[in-house]
């Protein structure tokens, strides 16, 4: 198998990754719906994963890809916890607007 980077240059992967990350950041900053915020975080995470894989191929080193498997596993666990919290918040407050979470302040 030829190196895929010969067909599409590494810089394109970096641009895509940065773009995805920025979308994630702005999603976190502008949206008030907790689920959307959550999804934005996932986008940021996957942007990083993408970068990992790209550089892994670039350096012909499998370590980066292995790391991605770990980070996906952790992300899955984190999502499970995070969604459970959101369900619990929705049951208590009747909404998942993060502004409502102000009440948690002591």
């Amino acid at each position: 198998m030829g190196n895929i980077l010969n067909e599409i240059g590494i810089e394109n992967y970096i641009f895509l990754s940065v773009l995805l990350f920025c979308i994630g950041v702005f999603g976190v900053l502008y949206r008030r719906n907790a689920i959307i915020v959550f999804m934005s975080i996932e986008i940021m995470l996957n942007a990083v994963n993408l970068l990992f894989v790209a550089f892994s191929t670039y350096h012909q080193d499998a370590e980066g890809q292995v790391f991605v498997f770990f980070s996906m596993a952790v992300a899955a666990a984190e999502v499970a916890v995070g969604l459970a919290i959101l369900v619990s918040v929705f049951r208590n407050l009747g909404s998942i607007d993060i502004d409502n979470l102000k009440n948690l302040k002591g």
């Binding site: 900053l29 993060i98 502004d99 009440n103 948690l104 302040k105």
Partner: protein, 627 residues
Amino acid sequence: MEMNLAILLLLSPFVGFLFNVFFGKKVSKGFSGTIGTLTVVVSFLLSVCFFAQLNQNGKAFEFSLFDWIQVGNFKLNFGILLDQLSILWLLFVTGIGSLIHLYSISYMHDDENMHKFFAYLNLFVFFMITLVVGSNLLVMFIGWEGVGLCSYLLIGFWYKNQDYNDAAKKAFIMNRVGDLGLLIGIFILAINLDTINFTDLNAGVVALNKTGGNQALQWAALCLFIGATGKSAQIPLYTWLPDAMAGPTPVSALIHAATMVTAGIFMVTRMNFLFDLTPNVQHVIAIIGTITALVAAAIGLLQNDIKKVLAYSTVSQLGLMFLALGLGAYNVAVFHVITHAFFKACLFLGSGSVIHGLHGEQDMRKMGGLRKAMPITFWTMMISTLAIAGIFPFAGFWSKDEILMTAFHENKTLWIVASIASIMTAFYMFRLMYLTFFREFRGTEEQKNHLHESPSLITIPLVILAVLATIGGAINLPGSTWLNHYLEPILAGKHEEHHLGSTEYMLMGIALVGAIIGIVLAYSKYIKQAFVPKTDNEIVGFSKTIYNKFYVDELYTATIVKPINALSNFFRTTLEPALSKVVFSFGSVAYGLSSQGRKLQNGNIGLYLFVFVIGICAIITYLFIAQ
């Protein structure tokens, strides 16, 4: 075997203490008292065994219970040393202790806290044994502190009376002052010699003296002597002892006359090799002892409380013992300690019997004529009074005469002062006897109808002690000096025999005549002129100064207690608020800052995320620029 017996000797009174603490309340009063007495008797019997053994083979017996402290070169065992000196002390501590325990069974029978009394008394005997048998200064110090504690507990035994509590505190605090001196003395020795074992100290002290360490030795000796002034009630720390008479009378007899107050003399005798090398300190000891003897005897002349008279007489006698110590005549001091223990214990127990018979009356102005009602008490006290006054052939004559004789040979001034003190002793002791036992009764009618001789548990110890006060001098008669030979291993070759020449007979004669003069003076004043001491506010002039104990207590109050109170008041009202203001101001600064910072944490998650992102951007930018 010997080791086990020695441990049993030490722990037996402690077992009595534990029993009386935990079960004393559940058993009958008589039983609790009997246990307390028996445990001390066991110690006494064991002491007699050790004494007999020592007399046979003459070998001191030393062993270590466990290793205690080990710091660098400094090693310390929790060791026990049974030699001539400690066994001698054991004999009369446990012997007189047993008699006084026996006496207390009857004397304290009406007290609701009798088991507590016996618990304290047993604990005292335990600590006293520790003090005596310790093989190094620190074990001795444990006992030293322990007896101080028991003394405090027993003086304040009737704790519902605030005056008694104050007396207990006074005794405890004044002893602390002395104990600090003792502790510093121990430290000086430990630093300079790396050991505080009595057996090693001897050689160490001599070696240090040769290599020019005399300065350190002098300080050590002086500090040890300060410790002794506290425990043995010498100037300037003597004022606690007369107040200590607030305790029950058996306590006064055991702790504040016969045993504990002789601890200072024991310690100085134990360390005799140190004091021999420091003649300056010896001089101080002799002078302080003599002045104490004189001052205390003078105060004793005009006291009206029967126990106070005996207390000042104790201070005065202890002063004479220190005079002997200061002159290097340790064996003479020890001799007087023993005879004094016999007759003073007897006198105190006798006064207790009188107080018992009068239901708590201690003022001699309200006594009189008790001779017929209490014949045994009278006769035993009379014998002891003759002994303390120094009348031939009672025990006190021999020991006091030895002290005066030594003083005569060493320093004429001290001899004259000490002789005056003994004439005073004869006077005030007979004043006590005349006021208490002669002429007619001066108390109330009701007391008169209830006058009775005390029960046999009280009179038996009195009789035994009176017998000892009569024949006790036999242990060291001039010519057959058993005690001097016995103590030779401790005081290696230091005692000098006084050959009985004409000077010695003359001195004995002078002492005897002096005592008789004192007695005759007392007789003419209190029997012939039928004088009864006036009430407190009728006393004027110099006698008022004496009656008020030379205002020493007032002096101490003015010069030490008041300034300390003022200082602590200053600290409380000025310094403490100032300090707490500083501390509080730190707190209020932090509070003010946080009241602003708290506004940032407003719970708005959107804001948090925003700040979070800004922060990360800032960090990345910084790292970027930094490269």
